[in-house]
Amino acid sequence: MKMELIQPFINAADAVLSQGLQGSTKVGNLTMEEEAYRRKGVAGMIALTGDIEGRIILDLEPQTAVRVASHYAGTDLPESDALIKETIFELANQVVGNAISALNDQGFHFRVHPPLLLTADQGDKTSEDTEALMILFETSLGNVFMNVALRYNKKRMADHATARA
């Protein structure tokens, strides 16, 4: 696992959750996921392609998503599938946007794909070079799980090295 790739996403999620929810966020368990991804609540996935490839999944209990949305709106919002999806997608976009800003300033270039809702209970098994790290964030409004599986695109990195030489 390339921790230098994962760390910007942990930092970004910590910042987005603690600033957005205006409360303390605790980074809980970090676990390596060698088996296929198992959805816990409602999960949104953002894929990255380019110098770094892979995907980030943000997974929340529906009630947590409603509490987060209500917090942002400043009023209690009724639970709906659209609200839950919207909340998870916006949180995922903010986390990925902040992380790729840091990575881009380090010289990595990639394309961020639009978020997708994961509906299957179980995802594809990760391969040896894209092991997934699962991070639990404990917030005042509930738990947020982030699953990160990324790897360098060796061909693109080699092309960049050749171009710089």
């Binding site: 957005g20 709106a73 903010q94 790729i100």
Partner: protein, 146 residues
């Protein structure tokens, strides 16, 4: 949410009017709530760049808060088109993607400032005062929505 001294239009003392542009309803609600605490008023909302252009023409807001990544037309292109038609437009880009190339592109194409998501109310408040310049006045009264 934190309370701020209301920022009014200096020419008539009326609330500053905002156009909020973001494809996420969640993000728009969040910004609208902050604007209320600044004593401002939401003139209109739009979910994409094309709608933003027509809503600007319809409402002539004092400030536009514009996301970058949106369907139909992205925020930077929409900002450029609005400024071409209305050089006085004050557009603040609000995006989670805050790398240098993006910021420079937005500023070169007419945006006045950039705020990265998640938006900190105190940062947005300072940016709004800066962008309004002499056209904005901080009153003693606090904004709504404490």
């Amino acid at each position: 949410m934190e309370q701020f001294a209301a920022v009014k239009r200096s020419k008539d003392g009326q609330p500053v009017r905002y156009l909020i542009v973001d494809d996420s309803v969640f993000a728009r609600k969040n910004l609208a709530r902050m604007i209320e605490t600044f004593g401002g008023q939401v003139a209109a909302e739009a979910g994409d760049g094309l709608t933003a252009i027509s809503e600007f023409d319809r409402t002539h807001p004092d400030i536009v808060l514009m996301d970058i990544t949106m369907p139909q037309m992205e925020g930077i292109e929409a900002a450029e088109r609005i400024v071409q038609q209305h050089p006085e437009a004050r557009i603040v880009m609000v995006s989670s993607v805050g790398y240098q190339e993006n910021i420079v592109a937005a500023l070169q194409r007419g945006a006045r400032h950039f705020v990265q998501k998640p938006v900190k109310p105190e940062v947005l408040y300072e940016v709004i005062k800066y962008v309004l310049g002499e056209d904005g006045a901080v009153s003693n009264a606090a904004g709504a929505g404490a």
